[in-house]
Point group: C2
Chain length 314, copies 2
């Protein structure tokens, strides 16, 4: 029986999903790898994949497509760009996997783009012809789908919507070197920074935070009536709604999906976010739906598998 | 021999191009129509099309695709939205054309989107998989092509890039009701307005202008060393480069094409525009090409014909 693998590549381990061609997740395995830059490490990956298959009554010859999602740019040709946060030799890994899985089509996909494809295959966006996934975590990533296909971009920057400019007057720099990016206000880091700054302005003692991305505590403070938390989350919603209005004059999607870690708090800011988008958007787009993503941390694993499967059919 | 027609619908006349299926323009005809809202007017259109065919040794049965471009929104399903500037009953016209051209696939396309498709078929963007056409005339329109396909948008607002916000501090309203849109600074109207305002600031007597969209005179003044004209064109380039940087973090095209009437002055501001884009864009997109469009006023006629032909093949 034909199978598809989706491989979520992290800094020191990979998470692998074994899928049917219809997108049913049949098994998941986490494989510790260390840095993936040597033949020994590539073998750890390929042997791990073979074990997962064997445990589930399948063989390498059953695998027709393998997707790999990476935390960095991948261009329209499937070429992986510079990876800032993991040690990976994509060409070496690709060659090793090709040798071990001869029938399989391979595809690298950027992680936020992969998450969007996952939602398209088996998540909230199933059946939608156009949508934009906004993945809010430490940073703000995105995946843009138009005419049922992912828009990776000519230089791998498609869906880099954390870098829509929302404040031209900002004086602090974003990680990208520019100033006033969405990510500076709407990422987990940005929300916590806004919260602390509002506490300072209002003379409120901040709640105890578990690090610089602990939005959970900020959300809980908001639920408990904390004014600084309310202000920080309003600012996040306003910036996000404004950025979405900019995106809509370019691609005008049917749906926005809010995912990533901060996406988990969607209910808390959904109303404010929808109001902000409607305030800023061009009239025809006012009916655009804004919904939570549904596959959580598995979205990218689903999505890279789907992309590898799609490319095979072309 | 199979033929394709592209129909550019204006307020009081239509311009029709007769194409081979390879995109060679074999003949053009301009047909005065008046408002296209009655059976009598629909008959003027269909008879005009038949005459053009007869003059070129073809019959209605040779026509396999007919595109119609309209100055207004058309959604992903091909449905025409509200048309502000022309009197047209799209459903009535469509039915009349279908009766007269039984083999032909019909497609309505927004004019800026059609221009983009024209450039993709036979213009500067021939063979490109992704690009954005920016059509600068009285307003600023756009057409976004990703993965070789036009992005019309779920609500017909795809490519409405004249409405990217470039100045959140603007107090005057754009035609869309929002404030600070690209169109307010980079359209022909916007350039002339900036020029007059700069003349006022600098105490310079403006050159004689032939109406509120006469950018030709402003460009000529710039060539003659007029400081206010230089300032207005710099502002236009800066706003346009900034808006393009916003577009690139969403769809990251290979190429930007500058078209429309103001596109004709491309050489005059090309260098400033490229510098502005590079200043504002995310690092990976710095190599994006910025080029003049090449089909001029015929682009939309080519493009709607191409869309009708493409949709037939699906």
């Amino acid at each position: 029986m034909d199978k598809v693998l989706g491989i979520d590549i992290g800094g020191t381990s990979i998470k692998v999903g074994l899928f049917s061609t219809e997108g049913i997740l049949e098994a998941v395995s986490k494989i510790p790898t260390g840095e993936i830059v040597s033949e020994a490490a590539f073998a750890v990956v390929t042997e791990g994949l073979k074990s997962l298959l064997a445990e589930n009554g399948a063989t390498p010859d059953d695998v027709i497509a393998i997707g790999l999602d990476v935390p960095g740019p991948v261009d329209d040709e499937g070429k992986v760009g510079m990876l800032a946060n993991i040690e990976l030799d994509p060409d070496g890994l690709q060659a090793a996997i090709k040798r071990a899985f001869k029938r399989a089509n391979l595809a690298f996909v950027n992680d936020a783009n992969a998450a969007a494809l996952g939602e398209l295959w088996q998540g909230t966006a199933k059946g939608a012809s156009s949508f934009v996934l906004i993945a809010i975590g430490t940073g703000v990533g995105g995946g843009v789908v138009c005419n049922g296909k992912l828009v990776s971009g000519a230089f791998g920057a498609g869906g880099e919507i954390g870098h829509v400019t929302v404040n031209r007057d900002e004086t602090e720099s974003c990680g990208c070197g520019r100033k006033g990016c969405l990510e500076q206000y709407a990422s987990a880091t940005g929300i916590v920074r806004s919260y602390l700054s509002e506490c300072d302005k209002l003379g409120i003692e901040p709640v105890k935070l578990d690090g610089p991305t602990d939005t959970l505590s900020v959300f809980n403070a908001h639920r408990a009536g904390d004014k600084a938390a309310k202000k920080a989350i309003s600012q996040m919603s306003d910036c996000l709604g404004y950025a979405m209005a900019q995106i809509s004059v370019v691609v005008d999607p049917q749906i926005y999906l809010i995912g990533g870690g901060v996406g988990g708090g969607f209910k808390l800011y959904a109303e404010e976010l929808r109001a902000a988008f409607r305030k800023y958007c061009l009239a025809p787009s006012v009916a655009t739906r804004i919904l939570p993503a549904s596959l959580g941390n598995d979205a990218a694993m689903y999505g890279c598998a789907y992309e590898a499967l799609l490319e095979r059919g072309e």
